[in-house]
Symmetry: C2
Subunit: 581 residues, 2 copies
Amino acid sequence: MNEPNARFGPLAAFLPVLQWGRQYDRDMLANDGLAAVIVTIMLIPQSLAYALLAGLPAEMGLYASILPLVAYALFGTSRALAVGPVAVVSLMTAAAVGNLALQGSAEYAAAAIILAMLSGLVLVAMGLFRLGFLANFLSHPVIAGFITASGILIAVSQLRHILGIEAHGHNLPEILGSLASHLDQINIVTLLIGTGSVAFLFWVRKGLQPVLERIGLGKRTAGMLAKAGPVAAVAVTTALAWGLGLDQAGVATVGEIPQGLPKLALPAFDRDLWVSLMGSAVLISVIGFVESVSVAQTLAAKRRQRIHPDQELIGLGAANIAASVSGGYPVTGGFARSVVNFDAGAETPAAGALAAIGIALAALFLTPLLFYLPKATLSATIIVAVLSLVDLSVLKHSWGYSRADFTAVAATILLTLLVGVEIGVMAGVGLSVLLYLYRSSRPHVAEVGQVPGTEHFRNTLRHKVITEPQIVTLRIDENLFFANARFLEDFILNRIAPDRGVAHVVLQCTSISTIDLSALESLESINDRLRDMDVALHLSEVKGPVMDRLKGTHFLDDLTGRVFLSQFDAFKALRNGREAA
Amino acid sequence: MNEPNARFGPLAAFLPVLQWGRQYDRDMLANDGLAAVIVTIMLIPQSLAYALLAGLPAEMGLYASILPLVAYALFGTSRALAVGPVAVVSLMTAAAVGNLALQGSAEYAAAAIILAMLSGLVLVAMGLFRLGFLANFLSHPVIAGFITASGILIAVSQLRHILGIEAHGHNLPEILGSLASHLDQINIVTLLIGTGSVAFLFWVRKGLQPVLERIGLGKRTAGMLAKAGPVAAVAVTTALAWGLGLDQAGVATVGEIPQGLPKLALPAFDRDLWVSLMGSAVLISVIGFVESVSVAQTLAAKRRQRIHPDQELIGLGAANIAASVSGGYPVTGGFARSVVNFDAGAETPAAGALAAIGIALAALFLTPLLFYLPKATLSATIIVAVLSLVDLSVLKHSWGYSRADFTAVAATILLTLLVGVEIGVMAGVGLSVLLYLYRSSRPHVAEVGQVPGTEHFRNTLRHKVITEPQIVTLRIDENLFFANARFLEDFILNRIAPDRGVAHVVLQCTSISTIDLSALESLESINDRLRDMDVALHLSEVKGPVMDRLKGTHFLDDLTGRVFLSQFDAFKALRNGREAA
């Protein structure tokens, strides 16, 4: 239908850098460079924090923010998307890997690296086989519910670092129970740092920008500076912890981070481990893709640009494979940082590659400075970030609009909170597909009659219409295919079997654009069964393409009745037939 | 919509015997009795043969034909359906249980009994929760392909008894390989009995009825007598084997069958075993239900009667639970025997209960006579019965009609033959649902223009129509919901983003009957993104109920354009708007 890259060859479609790279100039470099600086400043604390959330060493967050950005710059189609570790995917990583290994162990980190490889392969495969449409089955309300529940789960899970206690678990009851049983071990200094950071970050988010504007900064500069809040919190609390020797007072800090760039290596191949991570990899891929694409689409539209979902799969897949071979963990496009990237003026995916240089420099030179960074500060940045994701209004919203949507959302939220992220999102998807299949298996069928004085036929239940007892006309408001073929059979036979006065059944086919083989066989069977009851089956208003298809079969030869051009013709002819009889 | 049992209370709906039982009289009893005698004669060799096919002791086939028939008579709604062991379900039982235990072992039989209980519980649960619609997702071509492939598999698997050799396997390569490696052990006497029985049974099926009619029997009597062919084959070969002492010549016979009625007992509860059989139980339930319902519906329609699919689930579930507690294995309605039952004049489900008495008498008194019954004879009856199921024409049929249907059928047939029944049917269902989801996720969208001199708007690609470069009108030929919401976003943005001349997008909503929450959010997002591009979004010809729903939301307030009653109004107004501008 749409050939997105008609001007370019197939290689350029697969490597979008060949498209935008040809026109790359100094101005673009300047704009991308500025955006990269701002994104780097934002990404450093985020990388460290989300690695903490995933239960991984801090350096894995940095590693997941270097090579993946370069890979996405080569293969991705969005000009503003900033990839890297994100909150929900980090939580899902913790859930997936937590089942297989103990947090902090070498196996745990190795499993996360494999998970990134699997996610990458799944994404690339989906892209190559054009399976991006599968993401459509994550309905909007289910995603909204899932993100909200994940946000709550993440915020609650981070309370342990704010309180300075041990606590584990993959759902609300586990985490709360674990927190409650360790409450006696609260570290007051940690709590002060944590709550102080949270308060500061909330203030930065709401209150700093107006202050900066009042002291004469431009609106845009003020907005950009306000994004540096987490970096300020990191710097101040690290300095405090170092200067006051807070690690001696029991404040947990990030500790030693290996200095230097990640080493490249393929993840170990262990068949059983790969198989057991596969399901989680599919979930992470789909969720990450949906999140990422919706951000990318929103931003692209603002500049009348387009993104290509199937190529995005390949871009994100390449990013995850890159994460895996460079010691990172699953990544995707982040909402907040992409918006910042866009607002800062990023023009091409090169901005991402430049940010990768920034993070690489941080890994080379900054890591010794992070030894004293309190974990409570990182948790504070996570809590403030994810609480903006929490939006329970989707429940009210969907309740008012459609009960099917509400059911799917409520199940997603409840199961995510009470059981865990994987069950939660699978239940949401399963339920919405099931409700959809259910609905489509019972199409609306109206028994119609003639509106007096017109050639129109309307529902007998809603309008005063003319009917004849021996003629039953049914209008089917849906395409006919296997899911509703049997329903149609049941419906017609239930209507006709007990009503011995009926001699003609007319199917008004106005809304039917396709009839698949199952439905054709159902029509044949309806025809046969009606013949057994001495009732003739007629069709009216059959669309051209449907008629073409039926003409290739025996159905029209076997039909006991006729095919009428219009419903009015059918009614007139069958009615007169009776009068003649 | 239809309250099937409006004249009766809820108990009578659940126990249909309370409906037909009230009018039961002597004439009905006579008719049912005659039908029961004929079905009993047919069912005895079938029960024994299908137990052999399932790898179970012969008596389990008889037990599966006593209590289940009574249970169905109480709970079922079809007046002609004859339940009991059937070929495809027996094959599926062998596949399910064969993974867990060795054929011939006590564990094997115990697992089959548990499988019957699980199938019964699954069917009853589906009935109570009105999940019968799930069976709709087995499309007709997939069922046809599955039955055909199963028939081939069954016939080939029975060759071992005809040849008198050992051979095992759950798919064609396994069975053929196993047969080939034992070919040197062929027993000639067995082969003679087997091929003789097959030849005789084929002759009975095609040639006996005309002969009987020629010697003066009525057509109906001749037809009924021809059904007794398997009994004649059983009697003759058993007598031969006994008289000539063929068991000494290496002819495998049925051997000792415990005399008497089955003992009632609940199956052993072993959690792991139940869990591992659950998937197979669901498959067997759904396949059995679909087969059974289509037979029951066909026969009911011939007498203008109705069956109630959700109550049928309960009837078949009760039959399976009864099979389990009385030492039987999974049952369902059989095609051939139901037709015989119907033709013999069965008027109510009581015919089934009477046939149960017949089989019970056989279990009490006939079993000693069956000691010398050659297994080759039973296999011959199976082969002749299942070859009538084999019909590869569905492949040609579906190829000509629709490639999606063909793909699903071909996958079902190939995978059933090459891998096994469970994978085969799951692949068929999975593929047809997937193809359906794929199709529904990409609805037809036509860009339309005004047919000159009319108020009609038609596809610009098919008709010479009037368009305006600044107005793009899109007609969406499908309801809007989560599966195609994102597609619509992509479609519209891909169409509009590169076309800077566009100022108005009109969605013509003639074919839209529902908009779910995901689609509503997509419309909001389309509106926002078009606003970012300075393009207004308008709607035309929105149906009443859809408009009602939209009025409850903010969408209409936020809409950048207008809602027009007709597409013609929209085109006129927007066109003039430009001229005024």
